[in-house]
């Protein structure tokens, strides 16, 4: 009857919403494992973020220390692994964010545990479903070690809703050893739009947008729909948009209700990041573009012609809805 320990993230003094699907997963895992769900959060000055995490009906173990101000796999992994042992956790998990993907395998190494990556489902305490080969193969994996580590795909589990709050318990970090690693700096891109991985609508542009200024019309469309902006690798590489908008195998995995791909050919590595979207729209001037094979609605047209029309038609529709 082991506990389930879920690593949750915070940023800007708040619980990261990217962690909510992992909490949902943790609740299901706790039924499988037969032990309670416990959340663990590391950092400096956690007060508010830890209280936010406690709203999800589980005890929050907060490891609050100035030495943990910046995330480092080297300092975080031993603490998470130690707490997992102290708590008697049989499953340790988190969301497969860039932090989760960096941290959880190192935790698995320290726990001598097998790890299931990019988990999209769970059918038994140690049996998980996950995609492979850019989403073209689904496998079921069974982890054979006593303790299991799982990184869950953010879009595969709904965000958890709040429950009767749990307690926040402070846990001492113990010795913090960075193993010769040091955080130097981070350059983040600010955006007023919803986060790519959480948006209900994503509007993405590809190489066919030709230049950065042409993305204005895509932004207008995204804002009209309350959506986020995305892009293909080619558009990022060409410097039209920041790299963190990249959707795909190397970018973010998204699964919105509506994904609009404009001037994107539909390479498998791009499809890997958006095939899970509910409704897919493709606008491309090439009728043979592979993106049309996954699109629910395809429009063969140049964006120069189609986008202004689309913006004005949607505005018209919105006007009648008011």
């Amino acid at each position: 009857m082991g506990k389930v320990l879920i690593f949750v993230e915070h940023s800007g003094g708040h619980l990261r919403t990217a962690s909510l699907p992992a909490i949902t997963f943790g609740r299901a895992a706790s039924e499988h494992q037969g032990g309670p769900l416990v959340l663990v959060m590391l950092g400096k000055t956690l007060g508010a973020a830890a209280r936010e995490a406690a709203q999800f009906g589980a005890e929050v173990l907060a490891v609050d220390d100035p030495a943990l101000e910046h995330y480092l796999a080297e300092t975080y992994a031993p603490i998470v692994a130690r707490i997992a042992k102290e708590q008697g956790a049989t499953l340790v998990g988190g969301t497969a964010t860039s932090t989760g993907k960096d941290l959880l395998p190192r935790v698995a190494a320290l726990l001598d545990a097998g790890m299931a990556a990019d988990v999209t489902g769970m059918s038994a305490p140690k049996t998980f479903q996950r995609p492979m080969q850019a989403g073209n193969v689904l496998v079921q994996v069974e982890v054979t070690t006593p303790v299991v580590v799982a990184a869950v795909r953010q879009t595969a589990f709904p965000p958890a809703d709040p429950k009767a709050p749990g307690a926040v318990t402070q846990v001492a970090p113990g010795a913090v050893d960075a193993c010769g690693a040091r955080f130097v700096s981070v350059a983040t891109t600010q955006s007023e739009r919803p986060e790519l991985t959480e948006a209900k609508v994503v509007v993405s542009g590809g190489r066919g947008m030709k230049e950065s200024s042409n993305f204005k019309i895509l932004e207008e469309l995204a804002d009209l729909l309350g959506g986020a902006m995305g892009a293909s690798r080619a558009a990022c590489d060409a410097g039209m948009v920041p790299n963190d908008l990249q959707v795909g195998q190397t970018g973010k995995v998204v699964a919105p209700n509506l994904y609009i791909a404009v001037a994107i050919s539909g390479a498998i590595q791009h499809l890997a990041g958006m095939k899970g979207s509910k409704t897919i729209v493709a606008i491309n001037k090439d009728a043979e573009a592979p993106i049309f094979q996954v699109a629910d609605y395809g429009l063969v047209a140049t964006w120069e012609k189609a986008l202004p029309e689309l913006v004005s038609e949607i505005k018209k529709l919105k006007a009648t809805q008011r």
């Binding site: 960096d102 079921q140 982890v143 130097v184 996954v294 609605y297 038609e313």
Partner: protein
């Protein structure tokens, strides 16, 4: 600097996956180097050469690049290609792709690190087939080495005793310093023209985008470069899987879509049929 680079062979991602009952059908599969690993090889070469010296004769190499793969004997072909790009020698650890998991690969790398004592274990961030995204982190954990995953840039620091790695993270780019020895896993943009500054090549040097092509001279030279073969058992790696694949299926097919003739029709369908507007 001595660099151990990993290279896995994977089915060509451009080829359609075929299934035979409840397994992947590998007949007729074209095996290619995992792209991220090809990028790692390129990054290793850039880190160990002075590309601004040597004139028309090519870059001046300073350091050693050893490429390792765990796989069937046929993987010698992919290793040979890395040698033709410029790597110095290769190690082939005999193993059946299907009977490996991330832990076995990482434990094998630990053994090789103990034998070879590299300054840097440089790897792809992800194998395009398994997409486990964990071997590098596991190896770093077992070795108690610092790790810098998802590297988009690498810059030599502290007189070559450390690396400043630009990591692509969810919110942007993080710079992390790791003292050597360390594990670095590379992302796509590591092959950009100015992604790597090794402290020897002039800082404004621009490489051609992408992994280098093997020259004819490189291909000839590769024929004479050694590929050492070892068995997993010789290294003391037990063939037991911590993560077993128990079922393989094709993802559910998406319902066939339709082409619309106009923007008006598109908006009508999105509103009335898909109900997303």
């Amino acid at each position: 600097m001595k660099i151990l680079v990993t290279l896995k062979r994977v089915p060509d991602p451009e080829q359609k996956v075929k299934f035979k009952g409840d397994a992947i059908d590998f007949t007729g599969v074209n095996w290619v180097p995992n792209q991220f690993d090809e990028y790692a090889v390129e990054a290793a070469l850039r880190l160990t050469e002075n590309a601004s010296a040597g004139g028309a004769g090519g870059a001046v190499r300073d350091g050693e690049v050893v490429v390792v793969s765990i796989g069937p004997k046929e993987v010698a072909q992919q290793l040979r290609a890395a040698l033709a790009m410029g790597a110095d020698r290769a190690i082939l650890i005999d193993g059946d792709d299907g009977a490996l998991d991330a832990e076995m690969v990482a434990r094998t790398l630990v053994k090789l690190v103990e034998q070879e004592k590299p300054d840097l274990l440089l790897m792809g961030k992800l194998a395009a087939d398994s997409e486990n995204n964990q071997v590098g982190q596991l190896a770093a954990g077992y070795l108690h080495w610092p790790q810098a995953t998802f590297a988009a840039t690498i810059q030599a620091a502290e007189d070559g005793k450390a690396l400043d790695v630009g990591r692509e993270v969810d919110s942007g780019v993080e710079i992390k310093r790791v003292t050597l020895p360390a594990v670095v896993t590379v992302d796509l943009r590591i092959i950009a023209p100015q992604a790597i500054k090794n402290g020897k090549t002039a800082p404004d040097h621009a490489y051609p985008e992408g992994p280098r092509y093997a020259s004819l001279k490189g291909i000839m030279a590769a024929k004479k470069k050694p590929i050492t073969e070892t068995a997993l058992a010789t290294l003391g790696i037990a063939p037991s899987l911590r993560v077993k694949t128990t079922a393989v299926t094709a993802p559910p097919a998406r319902k066939a879509g339709v082409k619309v003739a106009s923007v008006e029709e598109l908006v009508a369908k999105l509103h009335n049929e898909a109900k997303v507007l």
